[in-house]
Symmetry: C2
Subunit: 348 residues, 2 copies
Amino acid sequence: MISRRNSKPVHIGGVTVGGDAPIVVQSMTKTDTRDVRATVRQIKELEECGCELVRLAVPDDEAAQALARIKQGVSLPIIADIHFDHRLALQSLEAGVDGLRLNPGNIADPEKIKQVAMAAKERHVPIRIGVNAGSMPKTADPNLGLADNMVNAALKEIGLLESVDFDLIKVSLKAFDVPATIEAYRSLAEKIPYPLHIGITEAGPPRTGIIRSAVGIGALLWLGIGDTIRVSLTAHPGEEVIAGYEILKSLNLRQHGPVLVSCPTCGRTEVDVVRLVGEVEEQLVKIDKPLKVAVMGCVVNGPGEARDADVGIACGKGKGVLFKKGEKVGVVDEKDLLSVLMREVEKL
Amino acid sequence: MISRRNSKPVHIGGVTVGGDAPIVVQSMTKTDTRDVRATVRQIKELEECGCELVRLAVPDDEAAQALARIKQGVSLPIIADIHFDHRLALQSLEAGVDGLRLNPGNIADPEKIKQVAMAAKERHVPIRIGVNAGSMPKTADPNLGLADNMVNAALKEIGLLESVDFDLIKVSLKAFDVPATIEAYRSLAEKIPYPLHIGITEAGPPRTGIIRSAVGIGALLWLGIGDTIRVSLTAHPGEEVIAGYEILKSLNLRQHGPVLVSCPTCGRTEVDVVRLVGEVEEQLVKIDKPLKVAVMGCVVNGPGEARDADVGIACGKGKGVLFKKGEKVGVVDEKDLLSVLMREVEKL
């Protein structure tokens, strides 16, 4: 039901971003990039969570030099995150990175930006123009709002890259403010053909950052905007990837393991649904297949939701009715609900 | 930046839903309604979290009879959730509830529905028509999609209520499927003047349910749709209220305590930002005022975000620059960052 904006795909290593490609989930390492071992380990952890692209901070020469060794140790495409010093971008390209991110607020000299674009072009390496509300170019117009200034910063940098015939471009326009972020992406989406990397910047720790990111990224995706997403959380980057997939799953844009439908419980509930759902959730972590599992507390919506799932239980007093692919297949005692449900899940 | 749909306000106890009123956060008790003591206690817990309306399941006569005693023990307006038996709605009205919820899928007889509406009208008690994908009326058209069937179910019930001159109406159209839910609300929003209660049903346990709810409720709110929200989670209802406020805060639609801006950290970070943010988050729980606090890891976006906050820290190597209301006010050693930051927060 969501009609995606048509964008010109780019290829980052073996991963396509834009066009008809699935919306790519990415994250960023939080290790010291100079620590090759720790960084490679974290990239592998990210890969296990389903991360498809990974970005690394490159704050100095030593970090840039580590990239070649990191690249040898991992299979995910890696993207160098560059600020302030364009030479680090050139070094990262030499090290064999699959993508670059440049922040227009932190490298201002047009000649340096063009130099990076020409080097990236030779190697067919895409560049993300990563505009961020926390580091706007000094040329931002105080009479314009944040969204317009972010869009203008992106358009200016796009012009620089296009002036050297570089078009392997992705763009992001991230702010903490969700309505401003949505406004910026909507405006830019109509002006350029390039794929968009979407996210809410500095969204905070998981408890609040996941909600802010889900609202912002979710609204954009629902509008058809966004070819790759990054959820920014003050936490292990694996949590960013897991949250990213949940956002995509909630809009039916990607599948990634099971979906768990469960009722909030209420004064009608006559079995311990909260405990049962907790146990089911824990056991579903092991399941890769995109199944829909329902655990429902009563007869109001229970049979309807359980019937709609691949495997579902609608609980009553001390027992539950088991449904499989829309058919009622039995009545199960409360104590056996978990084991019977998981047996059916594993059969599928 | 969000322009809210214009709706006809209704009053539930002292709380206005719709019109220009702030978007109301509500939840539902998960205790046995017949257990007056436990239910009153949970309603008070909900009130402490900021809950503004609370709904209670009324599955039988005993639960309906408990309502009068519950009502005496609490100050929040209470709403009786009715399915299957319209007499429970009549009893709930007699018990003095502030609102009713009727599910068109579970009470089909038009005469019974009208009877409830007439009794509610006498007492000026609003009725929410709560359509739910898990309990659709048997008259749903298999040739139509879920969204259209939900809208039609609501319109039919609205017609019944209006036929007895009852217009204290709110409507909800909840499904687990987010795009279908958004589609249904968008369609109905154009057809009726009544306020809308929005939510994603059976969204699951917090880890995934919060994301699904934030995406669905967030997109609707961003579209200007929604006068009251309920986040459905398989968890303590207080978590629903907290998540509800975070959704509203992320769209600048309500204030509710502090907002914490923090960076995800990366290979540039030279202080333990994850730990610091965790500690700050824990201490901010005690603060009621809607402050914006920023804890940032490096010089890329740190100064920009810290300057934009009421109190902010932009960390560097082993220390942080403290900002207050946009002004740099000092440099603080890493070990003192938490105490200095919280002192400034408490001053405000």
